[in-house]
Symmetry: D2
Subunit: 364 residues, 4 copies
Amino acid sequence: MAIRYLTAGESHGPALCGIIDGMPAGIKVCEEDFTTLMKKRQGGYGRGKRCQTEPEKVEVLSGIIGGKTTGSPISLLIRNADYANHKHYMHPFDEPSPEGEIPIPLPGHADFAGAIKYGLDNCRIIRERASARETAIRTALSVPARNMLHTKNVTSVCLIESIGGAEGKVNYSLPESEIKKMVDKNGDLFLTMDSEIINVWKSLIDEAKKNNNSLGGTGCVIFYGLPIGLGSHVQADKRLDSIIAAAVMSIPAIKGFEIGYAKALSEKRENSTDGIKFDSEKNVFSRTSNFAGGIEGGMTNGQPLVLRFHMKPLPANSRSESVNLKTLQPAFPEAYRSDVCAIQAACIVVESVVYLALANEITD
Amino acid sequence: MAIRYLTAGESHGPALCGIIDGMPAGIKVCEEDFTTLMKKRQGGYGRGKRCQTEPEKVEVLSGIIGGKTTGSPISLLIRNADYANHKHYMHPFDEPSPEGEIPIPLPGHADFAGAIKYGLDNCRIIRERASARETAIRTALSVPARNMLHTKNVTSVCLIESIGGAEGKVNYSLPESEIKKMVDKNGDLFLTMDSEIINVWKSLIDEAKKNNNSLGGTGCVIFYGLPIGLGSHVQADKRLDSIIAAAVMSIPAIKGFEIGYAKALSEKRENSTDGIKFDSEKNVFSRTSNFAGGIEGGMTNGQPLVLRFHMKPLPANSRSESVNLKTLQPAFPEAYRSDVCAIQAACIVVESVVYLALANEITD
Amino acid sequence: MAIRYLTAGESHGPALCGIIDGMPAGIKVCEEDFTTLMKKRQGGYGRGKRCQTEPEKVEVLSGIIGGKTTGSPISLLIRNADYANHKHYMHPFDEPSPEGEIPIPLPGHADFAGAIKYGLDNCRIIRERASARETAIRTALSVPARNMLHTKNVTSVCLIESIGGAEGKVNYSLPESEIKKMVDKNGDLFLTMDSEIINVWKSLIDEAKKNNNSLGGTGCVIFYGLPIGLGSHVQADKRLDSIIAAAVMSIPAIKGFEIGYAKALSEKRENSTDGIKFDSEKNVFSRTSNFAGGIEGGMTNGQPLVLRFHMKPLPANSRSESVNLKTLQPAFPEAYRSDVCAIQAACIVVESVVYLALANEITD
Amino acid sequence: MAIRYLTAGESHGPALCGIIDGMPAGIKVCEEDFTTLMKKRQGGYGRGKRCQTEPEKVEVLSGIIGGKTTGSPISLLIRNADYANHKHYMHPFDEPSPEGEIPIPLPGHADFAGAIKYGLDNCRIIRERASARETAIRTALSVPARNMLHTKNVTSVCLIESIGGAEGKVNYSLPESEIKKMVDKNGDLFLTMDSEIINVWKSLIDEAKKNNNSLGGTGCVIFYGLPIGLGSHVQADKRLDSIIAAAVMSIPAIKGFEIGYAKALSEKRENSTDGIKFDSEKNVFSRTSNFAGGIEGGMTNGQPLVLRFHMKPLPANSRSESVNLKTLQPAFPEAYRSDVCAIQAACIVVESVVYLALANEITD
């Protein structure tokens, strides 16, 4: 049992809270690490109002003293500013005002399945916990894991490959530093290597917003500098591809996951494996390609670890018909203000949960 | 802690062994259930010699008495017939003969990463455990889970969508019974709804075999009759899509996973959610589509659960260059006899591990 | 995976924090439930100043809305009032002032083992987390579990059997209500059935305090109304005696654990089992005795569950010699103000962790 | 997730089976290691016929090749010779003959609680799994863990402290080698330091046997050479005393557990902590006593780890009244042939499960 964590918190409740147990002692963490990362998660073109208005201030309650992890559980607290506006039906003990009730499940959200599961005719408590707001605290929890891995020369870059079916150009054979430079250049609007796609994506999002629609997309995170042999082939649940898939697929709205270009690889009729070379002067092994996306036999193989994920359009503005669970009559859900496109935030969250998973492998 | 299992066994060792703990008592299991399923896993066009020669006889050591599970741990044993031919380097205690050594890692397999991880110049023990042969015992372990779910009217169908990039026609809007009928008709060669693709796939496999190449593909498993609310939105590792992704991605050679058509969904610019209807006469809810592939908010939503996976070509015949770990000189791995295409077996294994995951949700 | 929880927090850090995941929805919880229980844990004769000065105010951050659990993770926060006095070396980011350093490990505490484990010459961060203060948040986390079990007619009584070797009279064959009445009568000073022992214990504690010594003791918790069959015989880690032992032995200063009167039972030369009777009119089974303490084969057997534990004297006032880890010279640790006797608090904490364990069995 | 294991198998079923996952590679294991340990577990005065007749032959199915662990899961198989005599009601698939039914629960065994839990009027399948025979496979699983710890200079001695209330003399302050010598001298009959108690224990057992009674006792296991800092104070379930208590209390018939002399320590009125000294020449720390039994703050402290446990008399010969679950009429259970006293076997099993727990701490 190395690193494990739990998160808690409703989207409009008093706070988000997270505890991570098992982080090693002595990892340097400063307050800026949290503020910078939380700011990054708020960014990207097409985000909703809520994510801008929340201060996302992370309070460290334990486990970090004098700017260093202690080896004791780290607990983090993020107050929800918006709780003030929802207190009358989100208070722990006060009788909730009916005003907060959500009798009409929003298709695409957890509302319907959750209400049936719990036998409710009010989707409020389901939606509050199912909300992607939870990923804010998971992101914050990744900070010590990120710092630990950085000290081991593990770095990463994340970017958007496509939005609403419009693909940006990528070239992962370029050196990491160059990819980073290109991505950062466009980062305020979109994390992308392709400056030309930006206006396409902007107009797609503007149009979707106009139509009360939203857009999904495909994102990619690449990890550099991982040691060979993280994960294991000896038991199904120790395979790194399985562990990372679980982490990524636990993020709301992500419906698909690939190591490298899995679909393309599944279609190859020519050689599809990565040759092994040894450089006797540098005394290092290298590979002739990276079809495997950095994982062979459930273990890192020393190549860049390439993860790709497919995110559905957020349901927040769903115009699908629904049913009022109190009257069982047809009804349309209240469309609520939310992100038109959250793929950029998703990139940061995917990167975060994978850092947490990798930290666990390294300390395991 | 509901259902958990461990498997053990090397590909050419004495036996494969599995223990599953937490299966409820009273589930009917007969010997045929094992033989039928193991036979299914051996089938499909393009399999290698090994999988035909192994008897795959499953011995029940515990947990099932008089044709019913007892609630005690179920342990299963599958002897490897081929052990007889490898005993001189696979015996638990006897000094291994050097004949068994594998100094040249096979690109695409666990050989290289495993050898480096353990500091070996012989890939034998890595490949023995990393081999997909392990999935035989996981398949056997799924029998009681399958039977339990069948008594709850959960059924499934699995089929191949494409091989080597050649797509077979599918139509998942047809009733389950019809899909099953179509798939069974072609099942000896390929599990597919499309009779016309069969010859295409046959010739692709024949050609690949001729060229010492192998082929991957895309498979799909659909589960019918699942209750609403399996899995949960309350904690990341309880989301059913995360749990199932972990199970599927733990199968060797599977590099990608989708709930429904994730990639297509990520590209949608129109409404992408499934409307909710209520039939007051039948007193049931229904949905207007199944873009979500049966999961919303990490929970089953009462729709068919549609899982798709992308499998890479098996590396067994890899012609990529490699390195002799003893001499560190360039070398070519011994290509070994294996499946040219194992996508059909993968469908059965995916179905098996998901039955295990679903059984756990139902008993949890 | 039913109920699981993590706690975090240093004794003099900003706060204690706990998250419990898996509690069912719909359990009634009111603010008083927390205040009453936390007050009980602070009570008992011979406690130190700290435990009286901490307000022990529990803030619910999530998982409880309108006085009912939601099924989502419950997170609780207890601010440490005393943090104000230790901020200069306990702040998450500020450089710690040397004033906070503890170079001399206190024998009996985690100081020495922890310092060596982490390679420190300052025991501060070890003692901060190892402190029994952590049990305050575990106690708070037990509130929903307690309420859930009470609705299932599970109740409990806890009491002190002996302090410093002086045994109070007990009679567990009396009806629960009577035991409760007797124990409550003396509860402000000592939870005991024996009014005559009170003055003996008082004077023992007064004397220990005078000598800067402290006292341990033996406590007992009895659970009534548990259904038959909690826990399981099928796997070692599912046996309820094992699960409860782990919970109780995880409490600082508790060194021994018994189901019923284990030591006495181990010495019996006559019949040592509990006869089984069936009352055909009431249609219930009963037992002729309770040597087993309520557990047979790792499962509850319908009898009162009797747990006993042995607590060592707290080391806080330890007068044992030690070593200064910076100079490696002999030195005496700073004795610090703490409880002279904490057996009464331990009874509440033991009761709490066992409620958590039992809740897990019932929901599992 | 370091070391974890599952066991399976009924007492009179085809076999016992165990899988252990997470053992490091390269640990030397030979066939004799298994035979010697299994023989030890069968020994001691007062054992029943069954334990002498079972060959207890351990077959290694995987995870050990050429006398070394491979890092892959180790699976072990022990066939039950006695299965031949019980096949007609223990076969996995054949209809069980009524002959095997056990309608009258044996007080003290799992029969009653298990039958009620599962709604049975036949205790057969409960007793088959609840039987202490399961500990044979747990003992076998400990072999690689034992060998790994021995290479790290961790050793142990186990002995009986008392049987049926008759205490043997012990002196744990003697050097390990001397304790071992004394214990081995008497080992065929009883593992004890006290030659004079042997005849007392013999006659107690002979008399118990004559009266169809059985005897419990107290055992002790001491581990030497453990590094400082195994276990942790940071989270409740990481405390070594909690982990070890869970392991020991999971063994059938063990009802009490102590680290060191917990009860005696709880009664101390004088200093009860172990002074710390530093020897600047040898550059080592030492302690002035071992009241803590080797654990402070949930971690090993470099002192011998002293574990004591209290075992109840086995119920096999129970003469307590019971009820026929089919007729609900009063009835007496069939007393069955079993051990009169199994405390010596318990010592070996306790030692085994603690080796497994310690191995996990060292690899974690």
